[in-house]
């Protein structure tokens, strides 16, 4: 067994099996539950405070209502963060697919013009844009 396989074996042993794939969905669900429960509990605590005569009870219940509102806001933030992560992955894939399709169309059009004997079109702006070059520095940074 070569060194790479030995490394693969040790890396595979260290993986957190079962935690990766479902984690986003779990956090998203927890966020939604916290958001909904926070709103409901805040409303209940506030309503209860209205029926109290002792100012200490009123204050305690209103503090509890504010804490539940804070929980709701935190839950909303968690929900949005993990919903967005999922959405952005699909968005990136779609961008990738559309970019590929667009470039294919441009290349096809350039090839078509070149084949049709339109010399200016083949070497003009469209052709330049299609094969535009960028440089990467010797240390790896994009220039």
């Amino acid at each position: 067994m070569n060194d790479r396989i030995e490394r693969l074996k040790s890396d595979a042993a260290e993986l957190n099996v079962g935690k990766g794939a479902g984690r986003d969905g779990l956090y998203q669900s927890l966020g939604a539950v916290a958001m909904a429960a926070g709103v409901v509990l805040a409303f209940v605590a506030y309503q209860l405070s209205l029926g109290k005569d002792d100012s200490r009870d009123i204050q305690s219940l209103q503090i509890l209502a504010l804490a539940m509102l804070a929980l709701s806001i935190a839950g909303a933030a968690v929900f949005v963060r993990y919903s967005l992560a999922r959405f952005l992955r699909f968005w990136l894939l779609r961008q990738l697919y559309e970019g590929q399709a667009h470039i294919d169309q441009v290349v096809e059009a350039i090839a078509g013009r070149a084949a049709g004997g339109v010399a200016d079109g083949a070497t003009g702006p469209a052709g330049t844009a299609g094969t535009g070059e960028r440089e990467v520095g010797s240390t790896g940074e994009l220039v």
């Binding site: 074996k9 595979a12 993986l15 440089e135």
Partner: protein, 249 residues
């Protein structure tokens, strides 16, 4: 170790060692419809295993499961003997199970060099070293290092996808439909490179609809029919059974 759960694997692989990649009784479904019906497949160290079959046989789904892109409904995916079922694809890529998807998955608006630069983010190796290795293996990419990937030919795009995968130092390489949309001569050149890569000790699972393209370099092949592995053997053993697998005879 076996490819289909029953049959011992001959050749370079030592039967007592866990293979770098193994699918054990894997079942998978899309929207409740099962498309893999309990497949067993092992990719031994340094070997090329070809997964063949007609369109819709379940080949690409098997690769998706192996790559962590699709969670199996039953069975397990094992990497070097460890159960990695359910591990995310990026985690598998990080440890060395690298996938080149159908359609190559390149970024059309990045240059060749930028693709390699991007791959360096997954390693601690220097870009210049990785570039040198990539261009030594694929000289045509060296000539086009500043060119946008979307403007490369299909064969060059496939080379770029392979180069990007190889600079991450993979232990297992999953190739899905490498020949798609390419001229036969280009496919032949690419498979020669695949054979060189396997000779360096990297285990390779190739999914291919056009069997003849890959059988020349494969150590073992498995034929899939309707979500099941119908036959496993050496390319020579399977030649006579390929037509029935594709034509349903």
């Amino acid at each position: 170790m076996s490819l289909n759960g029953d049959e011992p694997v001959a050749g370079r692989h030592i039967a007592t060692e866990a293979p770098p990649l193994e699918l054990v009784g894997v079942r998978a479904a899309y929207a409740g419809i099962e498309v893999l019906h309990g497949i067993h497949l092992a990719v031994p160290e340094g070997e090329v295993v070809a997964l063949l079959g007609a369109n819709g046989a379940g080949k690409s789904t098997a690769v998706k499961v192996a790559a962590g892109l699709l969670r199996p409904t039953a069975g397990s995916v094992r990497v070097a003997g460890h159960d990695v079922t359910g591990v995310a694809s990026h985690e598998l890529a990080r440890i060395g199970v690298c996938t080149i998807p159908e359609g190559r998955g390149i970024f059309p608006n990045l240059t060749v060099r930028e693709h390699l630069w991007m791959a360096t983010q997954a390693t601690d190796r220097d870009l210049a070293v990785l570039e040198e290795a990539a261009y030594a293996r694929f000289p045509r990419l060296g000539d086009r290092r500043g060119q946008l990937a979307g403007t490369l030919s299909g064969g060059e795009q496939q080379m770029l996808a392979m180069a990007r995968a190889l600079v991450t130092d993979p232990a297992v390489l999953l190739l899905d439909e490498l020949s798609m949309g390419l001229a036969p001569i280009v496919v032949q050149q690419l498979y020669e490179i695949v054979a060189q890569v396997a000779a360096e000790g990297i285990s390779i699972l190739v999914v291919e609809q056009f069997a003849q393209a890959v059988l020349g370099i494969a150590d073992r092949a498995a034929i899939m029919v309707n979500g099941e592995i119908a036959r496993v053997g050496t390319p020579a053993e399977l030649q006579s059974e390929l037509s029935s697998a594709y034509l349903g005879g």
